[in-house]
């Protein structure tokens, strides 16, 4: 409720309005004391006094509230500026990180390509020695173990051997 009062009422009216209201309320209260001495206007004096007090209280409350509203406004502007600066810095970091990762991946793939070229030049000489079906063929169990490691899945190995106990438990997602 107070936030609503501050944003919709206080921000729109000048501070002088509330100061004037408080002063007028005080003056009215002061005058009501003299009006009360006139017998004919006795009842009205009481009413005027109440109105004066109410106007004074509201005026003082809203005057204080205007001060608070001004502080709020300044704090909000300060915070908005800090956030604007932070967002700009954040975008800069994004650009730097993006550029770095693109460069790193390019570097990794470059190295991989070089090593692959080495394989195609040097390892390829041994293909005839380790040909599938030959005397020195690469054991299928070796390939299965590599694949199990790559997939982190032992089902194929279990199907093949069944002997060694798999102590890992399946995690539920």
């Amino acid at each position: 409720m107070f936030t609503w009062i501050i944003t919709h009422i206080l921000f729109s009216l000048p501070v002088l309005f509330w100061v004037s209201m408080a002063m007028i309320g005080f003056i009215v209260y002061f005058i009501s004391g003299y009006i009360g001495k006139i017998p004919v206007l006795n009842i009205q004096a009481g009413l005027i006094r109440i109105i004066g007090v109410i106007a004074m209280v509201i005026g003082v409350f809203m005057w204080g509230g205007s001060g608070v509203a001004a502080i709020y406004k300044a704090q909000i502007e300060e915070q908005k500026e800090k956030i604007r600066i932070a967002e700009a810095k954040s975008q800069k970091v994004n650009v730097i990180v993006e550029e770095k990762i693109v460069e790193k991946i390019k570097y990794i793939r470059g190295k991989t390509e070089y090593i692959t070229r080495y394989v195609d030049k040097e390892i390829i000489k041994y293909d005839t020695k380790f040909v599938p079906g030959g005397a020195c063929e690469i054991p299928k169990e070796f390939i299965r173990a590599l694949n199990a490691g790559a997939k982190n899945n032992t089902d194929e190995l279990k199907a093949a051997i069944g002997g060694i106990k798999d102590s890992t438990r399946k995690t539920t997602k």
Binding site: I85, V93, I108, T112, L146, K151
Partner: protein, 88 residues
């Protein structure tokens, strides 16, 4: 009545709350939002050179994933510093 007038000055305090300014969560670079690639399986009927290439390619995928992980850590550390500076 004079005490009431003095008491009314306390109303000048108003209500004390800290205004909240909405802040957007920083966006993450697109390249970091892609998950790491799956490692590749090899055929059982395979030549030695193909085996070596397959293993090397899988190592490469690991290195790329590692680079992404390091980039995430860097992104988070920098964003945290910026956030803390803005909210000092």
């Amino acid at each position: 009545m004079k005490y009431f007038a003095i008491l009314s000055l306390f109303i000048l305090v108003g209500c004390e709350t800290t205004p909240v300014v909405k802040e957007k969560w920083p966006s993450v670079p697109e390249s970091l939002m892609k998950s790491c690639s799956e490692l590749k399986s090899l055929s059982e009927e395979i030549k030695l050179s193909e085996l070596a290439s397959g293993i090397i390619n899988n190592y490469s995928l690991y290195h790329e994933c590692k680079a992404k992980s390091e980039a995430w850590i860097e992104w988070y550390t920098e964003q945290k510093k910026i956030f803390e500076e803005a909210h000092k």
